[in-house]
């Protein structure tokens, strides 16, 4: 599903190149649940953003579902992204001015889904996550765990093939964290969603079926 070859990314500071990612080669198949680990600043989030097409690599090739992303125009890439990728953030990143319902609905708006269909899809999602009663609340009226639940619901609304999660439990207590991880596992096993998560926690990483360790922008060979 995802093939990265010789991916590098750097920033130039005072004529000096600092590598954020260096010569990354990575293959991820459909249905995998991958955890990316590593110390702060090792390039975990950068890698996730490159995979998620939110960021460009400076060098290397990236194939997603058999299409080469690095040669694609922004419009096509955005089309591909909208259809197949969902993002979950550590800081939830819900839109403060929108209610739970409207937040979940927003990705569908960008895909021009019809109104009736949208209603049904959001309704299903609210049901599935047991947050029907909270649909008219605003993000600041929810607890962190609830907000992240909404964030995940929003990332899944367009039925993506790939879910990218950047420390999804980082701001949550351990009980809330466990619930989220259980949910991820269930999504992966029952719905066949490919998941790539960035995490600091060994325990959370263990939910996945593969762990990639990053250090200073390079992949460390599996132990």
């Amino acid at each position: 599903m995802i093939a990265l070859q010789h991916i590098s990314k750097w920033v130039t500071n005072g004529g000096l190149r600092t590598f954020l990612l260096k010569d990354i080669n990575l293959q991820i198949e459909e249905g995998e649940f991958v955890s990316i680990m590593g110390p702060s600043g090792s390039g975990k989030s950068t890698l996730l953003n490159v995979i998620g097409m939110l960021d460009d690599a400076d060098e290397g090739e990236y194939n997603f579902l058999g299409q080469s992303i690095h040669t694609m125009k922004e419009k096509q890439r955005s089309q591909l992204y909208k259809a197949h990728i969902g993002f979950v953030f550590q800081a939830y990143h819900l839109i403060d001015e929108l209610t739970v319902y409207e937040n979940i609905e927003t990705p569908l708006l960008y895909q021009d889904t019809k109104s009736a269909e949208r209603k049904a899809m959001v309704g299903d999602m609210l049901d599935r996550f047991n947050i029907v009663g909270k649909k008219d609340l605003f993000p600041n009226q929810l607890s962190g765990g609830q907000q992240q639940l909404v964030g995940i619901a929003r990332s899944l609304i367009a039925s993506p093939k790939l879910l990218l999660a950047d420390e999804p439990t980082g701001n949550l207590n351990s009980k809330q964290g466990e619930e989220i991880m259980d949910l991820f596992k269930q999504l992966n096993e029952e719905d066949g969603v490919t998941i790539i998560q960035v995490t600091h926690s060994e325990k959370n990483a263990a939910y996945g079926n593969r762990i990639i360790n990053l250090l200073d922008g390079r992949i460390e060979h599996p132990r």
């Binding site: 419009k75 839109i95 001015e97 929108l98 609905e105 960008y110 895909q111």
Partner: protein, 820 residues
């Protein structure tokens, strides 16, 4: 999709209430001003658009050239029409008609018992039968062909028919009698529908022109004279399709030559005729249109400039505030982009947000429009009212305006916002707004231009009002306080001698409370002017000069405090027997010492002696230089009473008492007339109406511009202080004083205001200096005018800024640091 945008837009407006309010107020003022201008312009352009073949319709007008004066007259010599009809090919129709002032209309009842009397009826003309061929009316009774064929016929418009013959069917009104001014008896021969669209042709009664031609009026109006031109006698033609107006003008000149030559062969012809398109008659103020209101293009342009300034300032506020606040929206944009929103999506979202805001501003502006219509009442045609808003094309205009304003003010902020990189704004929130140094630069330019406009208008306001004050307080060469004048009626129709005014003069002389009394013509300065060519033989050389002629009696100069510098006062006489000239004329004639002019003769039909010279005074507004002038005594032409009342506050209380007595005497002699008088100083002030109107327009415009600019600055300073809360806290902890922090926050703005002043200074100097050149007598552009306006602007800026900066500076640093 739009519902989602709308919701976010409204919630955002609510969240940033002050900001939204500033934007809405700014835009609403601009939009209302544009709306009002649009109403005026669309009204002015709606005149007489409905006539069939209106592009073939022309008015024949005249231009008369004198040595140093050109007179434009909207009329022609009356015989021109008949001759043109006979001799000029290419004219489909030719019509001539004569307009009248107010007339008395009497309607004998069907049984001839009672007579209905309507004293002051307007819109009555003498028209030839071709009038109704040239202008198409709908006939309710009678026929177009026959209605005006015979003398003593009249055609009434429906409105007048209903007034004179209430409840009677048009067909039954035919044959009824209508009597004008007790002498002209006519029979109703047709009823037409009034023109319903906007038109100058508001005539309601059409008396057959042959009525005039067969009566003594023909002589009185010089109806057969090729040299007499009156703007009351107007000629319209309809050209054959494809005919060039220039060709007709050439033939008119030839026509005039043929007919004129038979009479005044030796004199050079000074008169030319032109064809004026019907589309032009509302706009060309050189030629009046039945003494109705015409569009005044300079005023229209002025208003247009004001409206676009106000609109521009509102848009600038929006752009400034939207880009300044972009950082507060950056998180939302980042998220939207990660959810699949493209640049175009984001742009459309923010443009529709601007659209909603503009829409709200427009709704507000519809509510403030009646107020604006009131404030600018002096510039607005009376036909434009609040009800004018409810026309489909006005709504179309508003829609177009909303779209234009949304794009103008929303595009740049939308562009800036859509360019944000999602990961950059989501991860590095702290420096999200430091990235846009380009935006700050633009904001400074926009803010400066706002203040340049406001500063410019402020200076202009001060200069114009200074000039008006100067004009009104200038020594004009005569006394103007406590003088009242009024006219008595004069019967133009009868040749009988009317000495009633002399009786009134005797009665008024007996009244206490009147210090001085004069029976003359116009006061020293008035709207109307009468000029003539006078010849003076200086040795062999003949000097021909355009001289303004005025009439006085023996007490006139004394009453108006005008000084005789040489010779004697006029002696009472029925017609002109001698002249008192002004110093300018004396100098022009070559007399360095005015006394030398006394005893010389001016050549008229006979030699008229100069008996005195008076010192110069202004007969017009200070726009114009003092020109040659001659006074003579002519009781025959004296129909205006001038009363000098005793001055002093105690005496002033008695004025109304005195005037009431004057009215009683007036009524005893002219029982049917209305008594209306004017205080001379009031009517003088009216001569500066254009300037005073301009002053009030400028006052409002500069006030509103200042308001919008100050609001914009307030919005920016709110944003700046909010984003620098932490810095202010740290500085305070480090020991900065309140004044230090206020200065820190205000410094940038104040330097922009100063820069704006420096730009506006030369600009306004040039423009206002140019404007003052229009006045022969003008105030000077004093340095303090500029100083005051610059200082005033600075004070406004400081006050506006301090609303927010002082609060920020006195805030407890512990609080502000805790929040972050």
């Amino acid at each position: 999709m739009n519902r989602n945008y709308l919701i976010v837009a409204l919630r955002n407006f609510w969240k940033h209430k002050v900001l939204s309010l500033i934007n809405i107020v700014g835009l609403a003022i601009g939009i209302s001003a544009s709306l009002v201008i649009y109403l005026i312009v669309s009204h002015d352009f709606s005149y007489d658009k409905f006539h069939p073949d209106r592009d073939l319709l022309y008015r024949v007008v005249s231009k008369i050239e004198f040595p140093d004066l050109t007179i434009h007259n909207s009329g022609v010599p009356a015989p021109t029409a008949a001759a043109a009809r006979q001799e000029i090919p290419g004219l489909a129709t030719v019509t001539i008609f004569r307009t009248n002032g107010e007339m008395k209309v009497s309607i004998p009842a069907a049984d001839n018992q009672n007579v209905g009397v309507y004293r002051k009826e307007k819109d009555i003309i003498y028209a030839d039968p071709q009038y109704f061929e040239t202008f198409q009316y709908k006939w309710l009774a009678g026929s177009r062909a026959a209605a005006l064929a015979n003398p003593h016929s009249v055609v009434l418009a429906e409105s007048k028919a209903k007034k004179y013959f209430p409840g009677i069917k048009p067909a039954d009104i035919i044959g009824r009698q209508v009597i004008y001014d007790d002498t002209i008896k006519t029979m109703v021969n047709g009823i037409v529908e009034d023109f319903k669209e906007t038109t100058h042709f508001t005539f309601g009664e059409f008396i057959s022109l042959s009525t005039l031609e067969q009566s003594a009026l023909a002589d009185f109006y010089s109806w057969k004279d090729w040299n007499s031109i009156s703007s009351n006698t107007q000629m319209f033609v309809k050209l054959d399709p494809g005919m060039q107006p220039a060709k007709i003008e050439k033939q008119l000149a030839e026509l005039r030559n043929r007919h004129r030559e038979r009479r005044d062969k030796d004199k050079k012809d000074d008169t030319q005729h032109f064809l004026q398109s019907l589309n032009q008659i509302h706009f060309n103020t050189d030629y009046d249109t039945f003494e109705q209101r015409q569009a005044h293009l300079p005023t229209l342009y002025g208003l247009l400039a004001v409206a676009s300034f106000l609109l521009l300032l509102g848009c600038i506020n929006f752009i400034n505030l939207a880009t300044a606040h972009a950082s507060t929206r950056s998180k939302e944009i980042g998220i939207r982009k990660t959810l699949g929103g493209s640049k175009a999506n984001i742009r459309i979202q923010f443009l529709s947000e601007t659209f909603v805001l503009t829409l709200l501003a427009t709704i507000v502006s519809i509510f403030i429009t009646p107020w604006l219509l009131m404030v600018f009442g002096d510039f607005i045609p009376p036909a434009v009212t609040t009800a004018s808003v409810y026309q489909w094309h006005v709504w179309l205009f508003l829609l177009a305006l909303i779209l234009a304003v949304s794009l103008l003010s929303g595009y740049y902020p939308a562009y800036i916002l859509s360019k944000m990189q999602p990961m950059a704004v989501l991860n590095q929130r702290a420096n999200a707004h430091s990235s846009g140094s380009g935006k700050i630069w633009l904001r400074k330019i926009l803010t400066t231009s706002q203040f340049v406009i406001a500063q410019f208008l402020l200076i202009a306001t001060l200069v114009v009002s200074k000039q008006v004050r100067y004009s009104l307080s200038k020594d004009l060469g005569y006394k103007k306080d406590a003088i009242v004048y009024f006219s008595v009626p004069r019967n133009f129709y009868s040749d009988k001698k009317d000495d009633r005014r002399l009786v009134l003069q005797q009665k008024l002389k007996a009244l206490p409370g009147i210090e001085k009394l004069s029976l003359s013509a116009e006061p020293p300065a008035s709207g109307s002017t009468s000029t003539t060519t006078m010849e003076f033989a200086n040795g062999d050389k003949k000097m021909e000069t355009m001289v303004e002629v005025k009439f006085a009696d023996t007490s006139y100069f004394n009453l108006y405090g005008m000084k005789l510098v040489a010779g004697n006062n006029l002696q009472q006489s029925d017609t002109t027997k001698e002249y008192v000239i002004n110093e300018t004329y004396a100098k022009l004639l070559g007399f360095k010492n005015p006394a030398d002019a006394v005893g010389k003769f001016i050549e008229r039909d006979f030699l008229v002696p100069i008996t005195g010279v008076i010192s110069d005074f202004h007969t017009k507004s200070t726009h114009e230089a003092i020109k040659p002038l001659a006074y003579s005594s002519a009781t025959k032409r004296s129909y205006t009473f001038h009363l000098a009342l005793p001055t002093g506050t105690r005496n002033a209380a008695n004025w109304s008492n005195t005037l009431a007595k004057v009215e009683r005497e007036f009524k005893s002699i002219y029982p049917e007339e209305e008594f209306s008088y004017s205080f001379y100083d009031d009517s003088l002030a009216k001569m500066y109406k254009a300037e005073q109107d301009a002053t009030s327009l400028l006052q409002w415009a500069s006030g509103l511009c200042l308001l919008i600019s100050a609001l914009g600055m307030l919005g920016l300073v709110i944003f700046i202080t909010n984003s620098r809360t932490k810095e202010i806290g740290v500085r305070k902890v480090l020991g900065a004083s309140v004044s230090h922090i206020v200065m820190l926050l205000s410094k940038d703005f104040l330097s922009l205001v100063l820069l704006a002043f420096l730009i506006a200074l030369p600009l306004s100097w040039i423009v206002m200096n140019n404007w003052l050149q229009d006045f022969a007598y003008r105030t000077n552009l004093s340095w303090w005018l500029f100083a005051i306006s610059g200082l005033g602007m600075m004070v406004i800026a400081v006050v506006t800024l301090s609303i927010r900066t002082i609060k920020a500076a006195t805030a407890n640093p512990v609080e502000s640091l805790k929040v972050e």
